[in-house]
Amino acid sequence: MINLIRSLGRWGLGTFERLGRGHLFLLHILAGIPGLFLRFSLVIQQVYSVGVLSLLIILISGLFVGMVLGLQGYNTLVDFGAEESLGVLVSLSLVRELGPVVSALLFAGRAGSALTAEIGLMKSTEQLSGMEMMAVDPIRRVIAPRFMAGLISMPLLAAIFSAVGIIGAFLVGHGLLGVDDGAFWSQMQAKTDFYDDIMNGVIKSVVFGFVVTWIALFEGHDAIPTSEGVGRATTRTVVHSAFAILGLDFVLTALMFGDE
């Protein structure tokens, strides 16, 4: 019994310590961001590996999610004779929820895990200490550009996801199921507000990009420098990111759309 309480206590202390380290790490990254504007090519390089390489999975998933929404939405709406509202249903679900959330989950799986593994391996092969000994701060030189790249890429990926999804739903709704294209777009335009829906979706995706990249980089930097340690850190990145995305999504949704 005492042992149980003790291990609970140790777990709690460990968790708090990690949280503290994570926040110090974040401060250190943020301090390195102004310097990046002088060397933006470092960020561009990372936007390639973080953003461009995630593009394919985002495009394909976006298209299919949109097509499924088109089918499901049509089948539900047609019972009420409201299939013209398909555009609204699709656009609101994608722009407000599915776009930011699903693309962030995919981003965590594709780019987040890769970041953790990369940083963890750099640590275990002493590349990070090597840099320190060359008087180069690895957090500014290696971590901050990746953080910035995640922050830039995530909203773009989410926007692409939503746009492709809406096109997918249109292809199914109009091409396959014969929903009037004018009604599809005009109802969508009538009911989707730029500030309330689109901008809030963008804000969500910026927050998710921030959190996922932060978790991924911290897990890599904090990994035990062995192959097992890096493997575990990679898993933790995906799991913790998923929790963070879903939890924050609830909070943000409540804040943004709660008082309508």
Binding site: V47, E84, L156, A159
Partner: protein, 155 residues
């Protein structure tokens, strides 16, 4: 260095694609695009009851969108709803005696204004008033009337 340059180009295309997607969401998906076709002329119509009509609801003629509701007010003397419609400028040959009715798209859909063309030679102009209007059907009233007439018939 060569590789560096092609990376920059690809990243540039990625960012452009992302911004294009955002632009599409703003212009094609959301109502932001509507503010661009604001240019037009204003006419007003008075309705006894507008039901659930909202600002920015579409105004159509024969199913074609010809304008948009730009504001809704209560007339202080008649206690009717005074709806201002922003008509798109390319539809400048709408007869003066056109009538306006409030319809519902589908059973549960949004409400919109449908115009039916009249026969006058003169056209609607900025500041004109549409006199012939038909109020929105309010479901409760319709059901109430139906029950009432049914009860009367049974007597």
């Amino acid at each position: 260095m060569m590789q560096n340059k092609s990376t920059e180009i690809i990243v540039g295309m990625f960012v452009a694609a992302g911004i294009a997607a955002l632009f599409m969401l703003a212009m094609k998906v959301s109502n932001l695009g509507d503010f661009t076709d604001e240019a037009g002329y204003q006419v007003t119509a008075e309705f006894e009851n507008i039901g659930g009509l909202k600002v920015r609801a579409p105004v159509t003629m024969a199913g074609v969108r010809v304008g948009r509701v730009s504001s809704i007010n209560l007339d202080p003397t008649t206690y009717n709803a005074e709806v201002t419609i922003n008509m798109y400028s390319q539809f400048d040959n709408i007869p003066y005696d056109t009538s306006a009715s409030i319809y519902t798209a589908g059973l549960l859909g949004e409400q919109y204004i449908g115009l039916v063309a009249g026969a006058e030679e003169e056209f609607l102009q900025d500041g004109d008033v549409i006199d012939l209007t038909q109020p929105a059907l309010v479901l409760e009233q319709v059901i109430g009337q139906f029950l009432y007439s049914k009860a009367e018939g049974e007597e």
